[in-house]
């Protein structure tokens, strides 16, 4: 099996799993109890919090554990909207955010009388900080822009947008799910007030994430219950997963440079080989400002799901932004926002590389895909067979 879908999820690092194990079984204790073993569980949570904080250049008290990226995004956006709705009802975001941001904004629009500005992006998927500045009104309470796009890998100018938010005294949330653990992040440098991350995108377990909340920044919780996470995210802590997240952060910090240089070589090689071997393809995303592991292409005159099925027959796992894979009749909202015609967007393929990938796997993929495309193009009424 060749797994090239790391932006969807990554395998849990065996060292992470190893460290988690005992917190399921012999160290099962509720961290809120008074006895010694519980206090050890409490300590494990606080150790993990330090590791997450270190990865983001934050302080441990600025980290809240959540169930993952979706919850972190919901908490930051709904939590701010609840608290600030009397001050203003306007939020600025972009057209290419993840659904865990877009659909939260749509919820606020529909149910809480919010007005949302969905900023366009350029053909590479970049948000223009000037557009952010122009969209600000006296009702704007929050800006939410992703650090890097999950489909095309384009890295947004977060630091510049952060500066604008700060100058205008507006809270700034950044969905950092695709960059955390992949590239160095300093929440201080980026000037963000909220930053979301998810463990399973960088070799941690699923079902755990974190939200960075800048010291002094307030929001109204979206869950109510016990005192855990200072009452901001109640519920008995998922100790094994939190320990796993901490370990994943530690490993990511150590491996980040190696991962980046290795995966970039492999990604660039895949891009080069596919361009040499398949006519009429385009690459989506920014040529330079792009995650080193992501390659998103559109293969003209073929549909994405068909390619994915054939890749799967060959044991290769990838993804697509075609309608058929998104569970709707529309192709990816990200590709459409780049100005790609729908019929071309249906032919998109995303390869997202990870730590375990090898050059052999890349070469195999580059051998297999051109044959698949040829076969499907032969079948396509739009492909001129000369």
């Amino acid at each position: 099996m060749i797994y090239l879908d790391h932006n969807a999820t990554t395998p849990c690092d065996p060292a992470v799993f190893e460290e988690m194990k005992k917190w399921f079984t012999e160290m099962f204790f509720n961290p809120s109890s008074i006895y010694t073993p519980s206090q050890q569980a409490r300590q494990a949570i606080e150790d993990a919090r330090k590791k997450v904080a270190k990865l983001l250049d934050a302080s441990p008290e600025e980290i809240i554990f959540t169930s993952g990226g979706t919850e972190s995004n919901n908490t930051a956006i709904i939590g701010t909207a609840y608290l600030k709705k009397n001050k203003g009802n306007h939020i600025i975001t972009s057209l290419i955010e993840h659904h865990a941001v877009l659909n939260v904004c749509k919820f606020l629009e529909k149910n809480m009388g919010f007005q949302i500005t969905y900023l366009p992006v350029d053909k590479y998927g970049l948000v223009d900080p000037d557009d952010v500045k122009k969209a600000i009104t006296d009702k704007t309470i929050l800006i939410s822009i992703m650090a890097a796009n999950n489909e095309i890998g384009t890295i947004e100018p977060i630091e510049e947008i952060g500066k604008i938010a700060k100058e205008n005294n507006i809270l700034f949330h950044c969905d950092g799910v695709q960059v955390a653990g992949k590239i160095p992040v300093s929440v201080k440098k980026l000037n963000v007030d909220f930053f979301s991350l998810s463990a399973h995108k960088f070799y941690g377990p699923k079902g755990i994430g974190a939200l960075y909340v800048r010291k002094g920044v307030k929001f109204r919780p979206i869950l109510y219950g016990g005192h855990q996470e200072k009452g901001l995210r109640p519920g008995t802590e998922n100790v094994p997963a939190i320990v796993g997240l901490g370990k994943a952060c530690e490993i990511a910090e150590k491996n980040m440079e190696d991962d980046a240089s290795k995966e970039k070589v492999l990604r660039d090689k895949l891009e080069k080989l596919l361009f040499e071997r398949i006519p009429e393809i385009i690459v989506n995303g920014h040529p330079e400002k792009r995650l080193y592991n992501t390659l998103n292409i559109c293969v003209k005159y073929v549909e994405g799901e068909s390619m994915l099925l054939h890749l799967d027959f060959e044991g290769i796992c990838a993804s697509s932004g075609s309608a058929c894979t998104s569970g709707s009749l529309e192709p990816s909202h990200v590709l459409l926002a780049l100005g790609i015609p729908p019929e071309v967007a249906h032919g998109s393929l995303r390869f997202s590389l990870g730590r375990p990938n090898t050059m052999e796997e890349i070469e195999k993929t580059a051998d297999v895909l051109p044959k698949i495309v040829e076969k499907l193009r032969k079948m396509s009424p739009f492909w001129d067979k000369k």
């Binding site: 549909e303 058929c324 729908p342 249906h346 079948m379």
Partner: protein, 130 residues
Amino acid sequence: MYSQKLIDHFKNPRNMGRIENADGIGKVGNPVCGDVMWIYIKVGKNENNQEIIEDIKFETFGCGAAVATSSVITELAKGKTIEEAEKITNQDVIDVLEGLPPLKKHCSLLAEQGLKAAINDYRERQKTKT
């Protein structure tokens, strides 16, 4: 998500290609929606002098279900009289495939419409001939 039967038709599509000098062509679907089917038919006569679909081929741009339903409709129609072929429904296609995911039902409809469009095209051409 897909039945083994569907995967088989997707992997080994029957009657794939185009018929030069076809007697009727049905072009259905829309590239914007991600599914397009072109169905070509060649019409002949059987021993009872009835018009039959002597040959049928398809070209499809679309997902796994679109390719498989195209393949199945050509198999179902081949050799049938025009009258019989016109009665083929999308449910017949779904039955051969042993089911379709709900979101892919429109592919089976497209196949039915594609065949009907090809037959209509044939009839129109006959009219202009006479």
